[in-house]
Amino acid sequence: MANSLRLYLTCIRNTLDAALCLQNFPCQEVERHNKPEVELKTSPELLLNPVVYGPLVLICRNEAEKCLIETSINSLCISLKVKQSDELENILTKKFLRFLSMRAEAFQVLRRKPVQSFHTFLMVVGYSTVYYTQGYDISFLITNYHCEDMQKQKLIEFIVQFMEDIDKEISELKLSVNTRGRLVATEFLKQFI
C-alpha cells in the first residue's frame, strides 16, 4: 500500500523534474503579451508535441487516483484527482479543496478552478441526456516566473508534499466527523436511557 504510494510519487517527481524546464516566452498570438501557453493552447507546436491537445502525461496510481501533467514552453499545469472511497470523503474533499482553491493567491502556484478533462460522456438518464464531464479535484499552474523566483526543487517538493498531505488530511477530517457524530449521538440518546 505504502509502496505503491512511493512509486507513484517518485514517478511524479521525475516527470516534474523534466517538465519544469520553463523559460520566458512572449505570446505569439497577441503582441506585447506574455501568457501561460498551457492555458492558451492555440499554438500546438509550443505544447511540446505536435498533438492537438498538447502532451498530456497521465500518471495513474489506480482508477480513482491520477495526476495529469500538461506542459508547454513557459508553463506547466498539474491536475490531481484524489481518492474518494465513499460519499463522505467525496463531500469532504470537495469542500476542503474548494477552501484551498479560493485562497489560490496565497499559494501562488494554485489554480482557482481545477482542470476539467476533455472527455465528456453522454449519459441517458430517464428521458433526458446528461453531459458528464470527468474532472480533476485540484490544479496547479506553474509559470516561468515562479521558476525564476523560487527553487525548482522546492516547487517539486511542495507538490509532492501536498499530495502526501492531502490523503492524511482527508482521512483525519473523516475521522473527526465520525468521532463528533458518535459523541453527539451518544449525548443525545442518553436522555432516552
Binding site: Q23, N24, Q28, R32, L46, C147, E148, Q151, K154
Partner: protein, 396 residues
Amino acid sequence: MLGAQINPLIAFCPNNNEVHIYKMLEGKWEKIHVLHKHDQLVSGIDWSRRTDQIVTVSHDRNSYVWSQEASEWVPTLVILRLNRAALCVQWSPKENKFAVGSGAKTVCICYYEQENNWWVSKIIRKRHDSSVTSIAWHPNNILLATTSTDGKCRVFSTFIKGVDTKHTSSGSDSKFGELKALISFILQRIVLYLFTYLIVSVTLFAVQQIMQLDLSRSWTFGIRWSPSGNTLAYAGHDSMIYFVDEIGPSPSAQSVAFRDLPLRDVLFLSERMVIGVGYDCNPMVFAADERGLWSFLRFLDERKQTSNAKYGSQLSGTFGKLYGQSKSGSNEANESSRTRAHDNCITSVVPLKKTRDATVTTFTTAGSNTFQHLMDGKVVTWDLQQQQDLMEYLQG
C-alpha cells in the same frame, strides 16, 4: 585586439527593461551605466568590438543601437517593422549588419544606410513556422543560421547589394549576386518607374534558403557556428545536441543525446570543443575526437555540495541574462566559485578572452539565481587554463 583598454566591460539585462554595464575595477565589478529605453524585457544584447556599439532588442518589438558619446550611451531607434516580440540579436562578423529573430516567425536583417543616416531592416518572411529563438552568423558575413520553436534549423544566405561586397561571398553566392545585379540594371532601363522600384527592391535583397535541418522533434535553441564556419551546433529541448559538418557540399549530422536536462545555449571554444549550458546549472563539455565524432566529455563544475542549508534562506531573486564581451585580452583572474556556481538554470554563455587563433580560453555564464539581497543574476567566469585535460581539445 582592441586599443589599450585594460579593464573588461560587461553588459547584461537583469530580467527587466534595463541594460546594466559593469566594469571591472580593481578586482570588483562596478556598475557604470544603465541604459533605460525599452518598455518591456530586453531579450537580446550584443556588443560589437570594432565599432563599439551595443544593439538591444526587447519584447516591446523595438530595437536600439547605442553608441558611446562622451561617456554617455546614446540610443538610435531601429525600425524593425515587427509586430511581435524580438527574441534574439547578433552583430554580423564584419559588424555592418545585425540580425534579429522574433516571435512573429520572421528574421530581420538590419544594415546602416549612409544616405539617410538610419538603420534599415529587411525581413525574412514565410520561412519559419514558429518563433525564431536563436540566430548565428557564419564567419563569411553572408550566411545566417536560425533555430526556431518548430524544431527546425535553417541556413539562409543574406547577401545585400550595396552592403556586402562580392569579395566576401563564396563562389556560388557571388554568382547569385552578380546575376541579380545584372537583372536589376537591365530592368531599370526597360520597365516603368513604379515597377522598377518594386523589382529593384526585391533583387537588392532576395533571401535564399540554403538548407533546412529537421533533426530535432522539439524546440531548438542556442545555435552557433564553429570558428572556421565548418560546423554548426545547436541544442534541442529533447536533451540532444546536434552537430552538422560541411554545410555547403555534403552536410553530415550527428546528434548526441545525454541523460540530463536540456540545454539553452552553446558556445564553441575551438574547432573540437563545445560548451553547453542549460537547466542543469552546470556547463557540459562536448568534444570531437580525431575522426570528428562528437561526444559528451564531462561537467565543468565537478564539485558537489550539500545544498539544503543554503536554500533555506533564498526565496527571491531575478535572473540576469548576460551578453557582452571583454574589450581586451587582459589577465583577468578567474572567479569560478568554490561551491556549485549556479543555483538555477543557466541561460547564456559568452566568450571572454580569445587567443590569436580564435580559441576561447575563458568564458562567462549567466543564469537565474537565488541570491539573497542582491538583485543581480549570478555571472560566473570560467577559466579553462586550470583544466588540463581539456587543453588538448583547444589546440584542435
